[in-house]
Symmetry: C2
Subunit: 435 residues, 2 copies
């Protein structure tokens, strides 16, 4: 947009920029205090927030009703309205979530590996907050609490920008969070919700490296791509999940069937759902008809390579042909691509070439091939004899997650409290100088 | 540049882009093999490279002479020509460097923290290479060997783009590196030097996220800013070093003097050199005249706040006034800014506000204030009673360093082999599925 063409819009935009910058300055100041906050104070704030949500349930319902009503008027579809709704069950989950995060070990300030060096200095690393985290998400208001709780516990300040549809719900939650912070003697500005639905606010947030240390987008691919492209701040992002199960030669067929069915059907819309199954040629004839029958019960439609189609045709099933597009597809639905491979190398090549480096599992009883798969598959989670659906911060014992990173730098895979911190070097001397 | 305006240049550029993409494809393929390479093979390659440099010293000298001659013809200044020269001492250092890196523990493939989870799966993390690392540097040809050795040892493939002035030297070194890789049974393409001085090659390298996982620029601020702005690939970068020494109330004056003089004068042009000294008001009258005298012997010129100037005026020294510009200046020369502060809070505020979050040291005998400084100063290295000059991969025991990161994400401070790797999750099951 050329400012000269539309001075009114430009003035409005510069107002939003100033507003977001003010949030940034306040967040930076709050982050300094949060970095020094004691675990007890942070946990007290989390419990106060949990109590605040419970005590102000009626207010929350009222604010959420306003969002839902506006959403219906704007013609949001049923799925969007469902995500937007703060049901009693979701409110209970938010309360429980705050209490769980309060119960996690506090990672901030731990010092590790202090070791004396030849010069006589002693060097180690201290775990510290990243600083200010900007979180950009879509219409689920419960993300406001999840994200605030994790940022608070990890000693960061957060600037939250939820979807415009959930503005009233988010404002009501922000009031509860800030009251909880204050009650615990912590700065209110440690968690701020952007108080405008103006889209220019997102652009402004992405252009304040002086105030914001990292951006975490949570939502669909469109949002994540926009944020990644525009951001002048490092992004911890979560892109596609094109996950594989490879059924090795000599695999235990019962385990393979259980893992494959669970990985495909336990939930269709999640990033850790299997999208392509690879099977060793030695196993294919026995395994594929059993798999097709089991997935048939779940109405999963199959697409296969030529060998897969030939094998299934013998048992009377006529499935569609899988093309190159299928190997890279994230269906997020009841569809599975199947390919017969000659050996482990071909399976690894397929996964590294067509996959999204998210989560891949081998089903095998062979020690050497299991070890090789773990080493050679370049994904954020590699598994042996387990469903890809386990790739999740809770299942991994992180206690909570802010997302699953498909980046290689900093945090790879499920991101919990550690992923929201970094390490600085600590040096102890006694007047030491460098020679 | 508009392609329509200059079709010839555009055709040339697209030729360079294709050339760099070919390097990228080859590097990606090589990175798969390097990720699985055994420590013995990688170390054999490093020793073969060391031997190759020793055996082909005459060829290296000849190639370097051509670069130096061309540099003199192009009117490079003495400092540039000095950096470009492969002296016998520098060649010896490269040989020794390869052997040292071979001797470091191999970080790749280590599995840590395997722990059973409530579901019965066992989860931990494996350290793995980042993949393909692009390194963009200026005219020092010894960086070619340093960078290649670290990338090789950490199981990555490297694409190296040195300054155009050093092209012949870098090509000669590349031939030695590739011969060493081949001798050890590793892919030649694990280390490639961009074989053109065309500046478009840098742009092309920064726009291949499909082939390159991280970019490491090494050089002056201009280079690093250009790379950071243009790159579509994550950058591990090293910006300013505005480092502080804070002399606390009750500090041991002899330690403070030793640390301050070393931090300022041991080398002027390095990023971990002190640029501003802060001193507690209680110490200032006794300490500043001693400091001024000691730094006077090194011809360091001083710039001070009003209180500093008043104190030094009493001992007959008339120093320049420090302005806001001085508090953010990276002098890289014999200049020091000095400020008297009222207390620790003011020192911490000054450092966090004006510093570059690189390296800051407190000189103190006070337990509580030392502990507070370590926690509250938001820098990649925080020190007690030690010279800021220690912020260095060798001094920290990393064995080597590819640079000092001023970023918070991934690697903060000196970056050694660990900084060139990442962690993936490893999950073991026995046919486990998610409930």
């Amino acid at each position: 947009m050329n400012a000269a063409v539309n001075p009114t819009e430009s003035a409005a935009t510069s107002g939003v920029v100033a507003q977001v910058e003010a949030l940034g300055r306040a967040a930076r100041a709050a982050s300094r205090r949060m970095a020094e906050a004691e675990p007890g104070a942070k946990n007290a704030a989390l419990h106060a927030i949990a109590e605040g949500i419970a005590a102000r349930r009626a207010e929350l319902n009222e604010a959420n009703s306003r969002d839902l009503e506006a959403g219906r008027e704007r013609g949001l579809d049923a799925a969007m309205l469902d995500r937007l709704a703060l049901t009693d069950a979701r409110i209970d989950t938010m309360i429980e979530g705050c209490r769980q995060v309060a119960g996690l070990p506090d990672p901030v300030g731990t010092i590790s590996d202090m070791a004396y060096q030849p010069s006589g200095i002693q060097v180690g690393q201290m775990r510290v907050p990243l600083g200010v985290i900007g979180i950009i998400y879509e219409s689920r208001p419960n993300v406001t609490i999840d994200a605030a709780a994790l940022c608070l516990k990890s000693g960061n300040a957060a600037i939250l920008r939820g979807g415009s549809e959930s503005l009233h719900s988010n404002q009501a939650l922000a009031a509860i969070i800030q009251a909880g912070l204050e009650q615990a003697g912590l700065p209110r500005e440690a968690v701020q919700v952007v108080p405008t639905t103006d889209r220019a606010a997102v652009g402004a947030l992405l252009r304040m490296p002086q105030y914001v240390d990292v951006i975490v987008p949570r939502g669909g691919k469109g949002l994540i791509e926009r944020v990644s492209n525009e951001s002048q701040i490092p992004v911890i992002k979560h892109l596609d999940g094109v996950c594989h199960v490879y059924v090795d030669g000599g695999a235990d067929a019962d385990k393979a069937l259980a893992v494959a069915v669970n990985a495909k059907t336990q939930r269709y819309g999640t990033c850790n759902t299997m999208e392509t199954l690879l099977v060793h040629a030695d196993q294919a004839e026995a395994f594929l008809p059993r798999l097709a029958a089991a997935l048939g019960e779940h109405q999963v439609s199959l697409r296969g390579c030529a060998r897969t189609r030939a094998i299934l045709a013998e048992s009377g099933a006529d499935i569609a042909e899988a093309t190159e597009d299928d190997w890279v597809a994230e269906y997020l639905g009841p569809i599975l691509a199947i390919r017969v491979v000659d050996d482990l190398d071909m399976a690894i090549d397929h996964i590294n070439t067509y996959g999204s480096h998210h989560t891949d599992s081998i089903v095998t009883e062979d020690y050497t091939r299991a070890r090789r798969f773990l080493r050679a598959v370049d994904s954020s989670s590699v598994m042996v004899n387990a469903s890809t659906r386990f790739a999740d911060g809770f299942e991994y014992g992180l206690g909570a997650e802010i997302g699953i990173s498909t980046d290689k730098l900093h945090a790879r895979g499920p991101v919990g409290l550690h992923g929201l911190t970094t390490l600085k070097y600590v040096v102890f001397g006694d007047g030491h100088v460098r020679g």
